[in-house]
Subunit: 245 residues, 2 copies
């Protein structure tokens, strides 16, 4: 069992079950010990086990397949998304600070994989990515938003980086971004055509294998949003200077 | 109360308390409702509340100050660290895949803030950063490891980015990296002098305001590690191709 816990805090049942998963060397998809085994091994009641399993489920550490049983979960970054949305909504003193940070982090991730993406895409054609941009264009012309096409574009792009953590994190932050915007009552993007065309410029730069042009297109893609966040932050009554703690 | 839950899963007490924090518009540092209030409002037993509070504490959503009471926590990224360490250790089919991804993500973050860091540091001197490198050099000469100086160097550098999420994530991944290496029995760095000098090259590039040199120094800084991970992955009996799912 792990021994590195803070000395002052008793382990929760949730943590005890996590230790058990490690001790038993279980992997994602493996069946979990039965409820009866957990009760007996941990010396706790059935209701405590059930409550802990509900929490572990919300953390994607266990997965309940109804009619089948309980399995070790996929350990995805979905709890991070939940946590960051929670934090964004709670952060009401400076309501756009977390959104600004989420967007800056998305920019940093997109810029951080510039070399890898450009090397991969030089001299290729990318009909799938172009198709998402075309869908954005069509929907914009019809006055409709395009979150699915936008999400699919970025997810498709980042999935080509040979690193599942980068693509999962980018997807997580895209999701936080998309969910937090309406929760915060953030004003709609008034430069939506610009945003659409910036997606095309990203593909152009990648296909040209031009890292500098890719970086410029990424920054241009986020520019309307970063401008809007700066404006909303300045207009917000509880605004504080944009400096990290 | 939130209504967007998956239809098949009953909310855990942990989630119900999170909803209550949102409904009451509490902020980090605010006192939590008393145990008695939580029992009454949620219609649950004192032991269920206590168990949920232990879990919320491990998620940094509540903070117990002994002798003072329970407060809304700082919502830090520490649960992400715990989750990723858990995932790294569990991922035994391809034991170095998560370490490789964590390192690539650290590289992407360091590269992603290149412009901002170079603009900030051009024509400055950075005795604090140089001091950490000097400490690494001294410890290396004495045959000692230097995790504190290394952590302090990267944490100091990234804290200068005006984005607490980037610096917290970078710190989180540094911590995962450092904790996972011994857990996985990863071989020690045989090019440690090279790593030390690469830190100095990073500062040189920043002070020169030279983004291209900074990017090159970052890649060079990680090169011994990425080579070691590639080698260990190739040598590992359960090795699988390094392609994202």
């Amino acid at each position: 069992m792990a021994t590195s816990m803070a000395p002052t805090r008793r382990k929760s049942v949730v943590e005890q079950i996590q230790d058990m998963i490690l001790d038993l060397e279980l992997r994602p998809g493996d069946p979990m010990p039965t409820e009866a085994t957990l009760c007996e091994d941990l010396g706790i009641s059935r209701s405590s086990v059930r409550e802990a399993m509900r929490t572990l489920q919300s953390l994607d550490i266990v997965e309940v397949r109804h009619g089948h049983g309980t399995y070790v979960g996929q350990l995805s970054l979905s709890p991070l998304v939940t946590g960051l949305i929670f934090r964004s909504v709670l952060n009401t003193d400076n309501s756009f600070a977390t959104l600004r940070d989420v967007v800056s982090l998305r920019i940093a991730l997109d810029l951080g994989v510039a070399d890898e993406l450009c090397a991969q895409h030089a001299s290729t054609t990318n009909p799938e990515l172009r198709g998402y941009v075309e869908e954005m264009r069509t929907r914009t012309a019809a006055g409709l938003p395009f979150p699915e096409a936008d999400g699919a574009f970025h997810s498709r792009l980042l999935s080509q980086v040979g690193n599942s953590l980068v693509s999962e994190l980018a997807a997580a932050f895209w999701e936080v971004h998309t969910k937090v915007v309406p929760l915060l009552g953030f004003p709609p993007n008034t430069e939506i055509e610009h945003t659409v065309e910036a997606h095309d410029a990203i593909i152009d730069a990648l296909e040209a294998g031009d890292t500098a042009a890719y970086r410029a297109a990424v920054l241009d893609h986020y520019a309307p949003l970063t401008r809007a966040i700066e404006k909303a932050t300045a207009d917000s009554p509880g605004a504080v200077p944009t400096v990290a703690p």
